[in-house]
């Protein structure tokens, strides 16, 4: 085989490999998006017809609007979702509550930030840790305090990851 043929084969292999990587990433993203869309629908964050578009507008990482006061490792990177603990863990029985505004309907919602308890801290990539502090107050307002272990009242005390559950509409919204 000539040098020229070798170069062509190498280039072709690289192109196929890159294509496969991108295809896999795209499929993965679509699968994630499907799960997230289900979450948006489940919580009736927005009217049914707009679920897909709203979901698309929301970054599934820390930019998700309900993470506006998230101080912890998001469970959606740890085998669960924003509103679901990973298998084998237990939801915290107490939580703190923040207020976040949904950019789509401009309404303020009450968000219960529960930890998922009983597993080692989810050690996933750095972008899984969200450090958003809107409305956070020190411990003298303990119901608005995001720097605590909210597994504090559980039997299993270690917080593995954190969730953001939309539990109501804030007064005046």
């Amino acid at each position: 085989m000539t040098g020229s043929n070798w170069n062509s084969l190498t280039a072709a292999t690289a192109a196929v490999f890159t294509g496969l990587v991108f295809a896999h990433a795209a499929w993965h993203k679509l699968a994630d998006f499907g799960a997230f869309m289900g979450f948006v629908a489940d919580y009736q964050v927005t009217p049914e017809p707009t679920v897909a578009s709203v979901s698309r507008a929301v970054d599934s990482k820390c930019e998700y609007w309900a993470y506006c006061s998230m101080n912890g490792i998001r469970c959606d990177a740890c085998g669960g979702s924003a509103g679901q603990c990973p298998p084998g863990s237990r939801p915290s029985v107490v939580s703190w509550v923040g207020t976040c505004t949904n950019p789509t309907d401009k309404k303020a919602y009450l968000i219960s930030y529960n930890d998922c308890c009983g597993k080692a801290v989810c050690d996933v990539p750095e972008d899984a840790f969200c450090s958003h502090d809107e409305g956070d107050r020190p411990g003298y307002r303990i119901g608005s305090y995001n720097a605590a272990n909210w597994c504090m009242a559980n039997t299993n005390l270690v917080p593995g990851c954190s969730t953001a559950v939309i539990v109501g509409i804030a007064d005046g919204a």
Binding site: G118, E134, Y140, L157
Partner: protein
């Protein structure tokens, strides 16, 4: 041929060495020992919190040389005695590390030998929160150690460390933090309605008399941070909006003595932020504050882009030193102070120049172990 000659030369050298060693003192194997104590001198302690095992790391204040560590349980809080000779931690031990039967204990350490010397069981109510000086404190005479609880109902466990036992639990509903008075067995707490409540222990340490202050700050519009500075007889706090709240805790109830803005007239929306975000230099009555621009709702934990040296005597900004993402501060008391600071994974030392309006200049940085390391304590 050269190789053969080299072989014979090497062999002759080895033989000579063997003959020589055979006639001299026999080989003495080394034995592993334990260094009996850390090197003397003032120390900088950094507190690494963890969901499994925590640590108190000890550095020399003069050179930031790492001296060793003391180990604690999970999600603990740390206290250093005023003379720096004794350390305390209140932390959690779970039977299966991440679940199982819980045990919360107060551990007492000898700093010189970095060794635990006593432990006292605590009620299993310890506040498991980010490290804060106000979560574990001692009475003026050192007899009592106060432990912050949150279940999330808030209370304070009182431990007589001389007798080695818990003497009582003081309910503190709606209030948080432990700020001991300079005299007597009294501590104050910050409350969510903007007041402070002071608790004066009764003689047996089992209960306390309670005295509530007038409203001092607005927890909705201008909440104060938990870290404080002891300035003379007063405690100084700073708020999210950059206001100083100076309170006196020498009486039965806390009183506001002064309040003013450190940011008034400054453009750029500068606001205080970080973890242990203020540090007081007693020698010059100067407060160092970690500041960030464009402050707003949720920015209060942003690391500092500038350290402001603020003159508490004349209520003026002396100097604004640019820094790179500092989260916590501690300052020495000297007339020519040293400022210590932390950011993720790093402990930094800044020289401070009183002749240059307290401008700071980084002189050293070292690796600071631990994933979460937001508290710095200085002791002689």
């Amino acid at each position: 041929m050269i190789r053969i000659a080299g072989f014979f030369m090497l062999a002759s050298v080895l033989c000579a060495c063997y003959r020589s060693s055979a006639t001299e003192t026999p080989f003495e194997p080394q034995h592993l020992t334990v260094k009996p104590a850390i090197d003397p001198g003032a120390n900088v302690f950094t507190i690494a919190i963890s969901e499994s095992a925590g640590a108190i790391h000890v550095f020399g204040a003069a050179d930031l040389k790492y001296k060793g560590s003391m180990s604690s349980g999970a999600m603990g809080q740390t206290l250093l005695s005023r003379d720096g000779k004794t350390a305390y931690t209140a932390s959690l031990y779970l039977k299966r590390i991440v679940h199982g039967e819980r045990e919360m204990i107060l551990q007492i350490y000898d700093v010189a030998t970095l060794s635990p010397i006593k432990e006292i069981p605590l009620p299993p109510k310890l506040a498991m929160v980010d490290t804060l000086e106000a979560m574990l404190a001692q009475s003026a005479d050192g007899r009592y150690v106060y432990v912050q609880n949150a279940t999330p109902a808030t209370s304070v466990t009182v431990v007589d460390v001389i007798a080695g036992k818990v003497t009582g639990e003081i309910p503190a509903p709606g209030c948080f933090g432990i700020y001991p008075s300079l005299r007597g067995d009294r501590f104050s707490a910050i409350c969510g309605d903007g007041t402070f409540v002071s608790y004066t222990l009764k003689a047996d340490g089992a209960s306390a008399d309670r005295a509530q202050s007038k409203k001092i700050f607005d927890a909705d519009k201008d909440p104060i941070f938990m870290p404080s500075a002891r300035v003379g007889a007063d405690l100084v706090f700073i708020s999210y909006q950059g206001n100083i709240y100076r309170v006196c805790d020498s009486g039965p109830a806390v009183k506001l003595t002064d309040s003013y803005s450190v940011t008034a007239g400054v453009d750029g929306g500068w606001a205080p932020g970080g973890a242990q975000l203020i540090a007081y230099n007693k020698g010059n009555n100067v407060l160092f504050v970690g500041m960030h621009p464009n402050g707003g709702n949720g920015s209060h934990k942003q690391p500092a882009k500038e350290i402001w040296a603020y003159d508490l005597t004349h209520k003026t900004i002396l100097y604004r030193s640019p820094v790179a993402d500092i989260t916590s501060l501690a300052a020495s008391d000297a007339r020519v102070p040293v400022l210590y600071a932390s950011k993720p994974k790093l402990l930094l030392r800044f020289d401070v120049d009183p002749d240059a309006k307290f401008a700071i200049k980084e002189s050293q940085q070292v690796y600071n172990p631990g994933a979460w390391n937001d508290e710095i304590i200085l002791r002689p």
